[in-house]
Amino acid sequence: MFWVFFLGGMTILFLAWHFGLRRSQVRKASLPLSITSFFAFAFLYAPILVVAVMSFNNSRFRLDWAGFTTKWYAKIFGDESVTGGLEGAQLLAATQNTLVLAIISTAIATVIGSLLGYGLHRYRFPGSKLVAWLMYIPVVTPDIVMAISLLLLYQVLRNILPFFEPGMPSMIIAHVTFQIAFVAIVVRSRLATLDPALEEAARDLYASPLETVRQVVLPLALPGVMAGALLAFTLSIDDFVISFFTSGPESQTLPILIYASVKRGITPDINALSTIIVLLTMIGVFLSQILQRNQKD
């Protein structure tokens, strides 16, 4: 039965895990520790794997395994002949919205956020401590509270400027708002690792303030800026709650689309779509981590 295969597979995986990692251990990790960690990882990856597996399930409505197929992927990539699930146009629009939103908001947030991080790091102006604290609000606050407060803001501002109708501009502003905080924190962190004597050395060697930034600060801060940008991009692509409350009928993003489909009833191409998104996300995270690790100059 299913369970036989499953448990067998898990045991094999565990053995590979346990004995594979033994070799690279600096301190010996006990067996219970190894078991717990294995299950923790399995637990974390279970949802992803399940979705990936189901994306190959040849069944329109039920979850029973009905044979292997790649038709759901075909559908997403444009094959009209596959029936069931989402409309192709809807999917395309949502993907477009998600990407446009992410790219624009990341671009804006990276510029403003990096400058903010730099200014906070370099200049002790009155209120800089308060601003530094404010930056952590988006990190800790539940998404829904952020979403609601922006929603209400737009309600109020709408009376002054029609610009703030639910839609792409509103979503961009909302995304940029939390992205700026994350970018500023990451950039500031990176700048804090720089030796202050480097800037003094540049000045000592006849560089003007602007040249000091261009020649010394910027090149060394760049990994931080890139890491911040990547983080911002991922946050935007991933965001559901804030987008949900600030979006208009024309500006559905992929997470919103997926949520709506899930509420309506399980649609098989969601699995394929999700798997693709997961893969892309993983690539993004790997890149970001590599950049962050390279900070250790």
């Binding site: 251990q25 960690s37 002790r124 829904i144 407060s149 803001l153 997926i258």
Partner: protein, 308 residues
Amino acid sequence: MMTKKPKLEAAGGELLTPRQLLTRAAATAGAGIVWIALFLVLPMLILFGYSFLTRDELGNAVFPLTIDNYVRFAGWDVLGYDAAYLIIVGRTILVSLVTTFFCVLIAYPLAFFIAAHKPQVRDRLMIFVIVPSWVNLVIRTYAWMIMFNPSSPITQLAVSLGIVKPNEGLYPSDFAVYLGMVNVFLPFIVLPLYSAVERIDWSQLEAAQDLYATKTQAFFQVLVPQTLPGLTAGIILTAIPALGMFVVPDLLGGAKVALIGNSIAQQFGSSRDYPFGAAISFLVMGLTLLVLWLYARRVGEKGMRDLL
């Protein structure tokens, strides 16, 4: 020879007058500050103000100002006392605490396990921990819906064990919500906790044993306390956002497990009572700000870095 007025020093080999300092600060951080003021601070103030408005029959938010929304939240409604919302708050706090508890329980061994490997392997393991957290929340929760569906092997096992009635899924249920929440928040605790564990000075274990402590005593009295800052950061990053979570209870709990996040969402959806929703949101926001403020006071500017 007379000298000019003393100037301020700003790091980086520059001596600036106060005016120059402000100009430079404005040129760099200015845009960000204006943005934050406009789109972070102002909304919070509006949220606060909105919570005192009244909802008219048409569903619009109008004056007069009133504290009715808060009163209603506390339980006193037209029909007498009903602590429905307070119960929801209680349930939400319970879910948040239980989630946090289980996350900590799993995260500690995981963190120590990872820290036991050599640096390159450690880094790679940590990347593997982080990756799932960047996968869309909706997708991950949806996956549990699949796994807890009546026709899945997991549910069928539960049926054969008698835990669940046949044709019912493992969701919607409390259990599913807890599981989903832990699944979402586990990486958030592992990250700061692992940072703290990575920085532990293991030679202290030997020093303690040299001073007659047993291995266990040394471990719990000397090493674990060193992880406290990371643990605190992790708890804050889990417990607070968990309070406002609405996707997981919505998808995995249905109507049975409504948390405060769901109530808020409802006010802005089907119920269309914005002022009331604002009041609830503000309470959650207020709690968040309070915790953040206390945390900042405790750990100082440098300590805040643990949060990200």
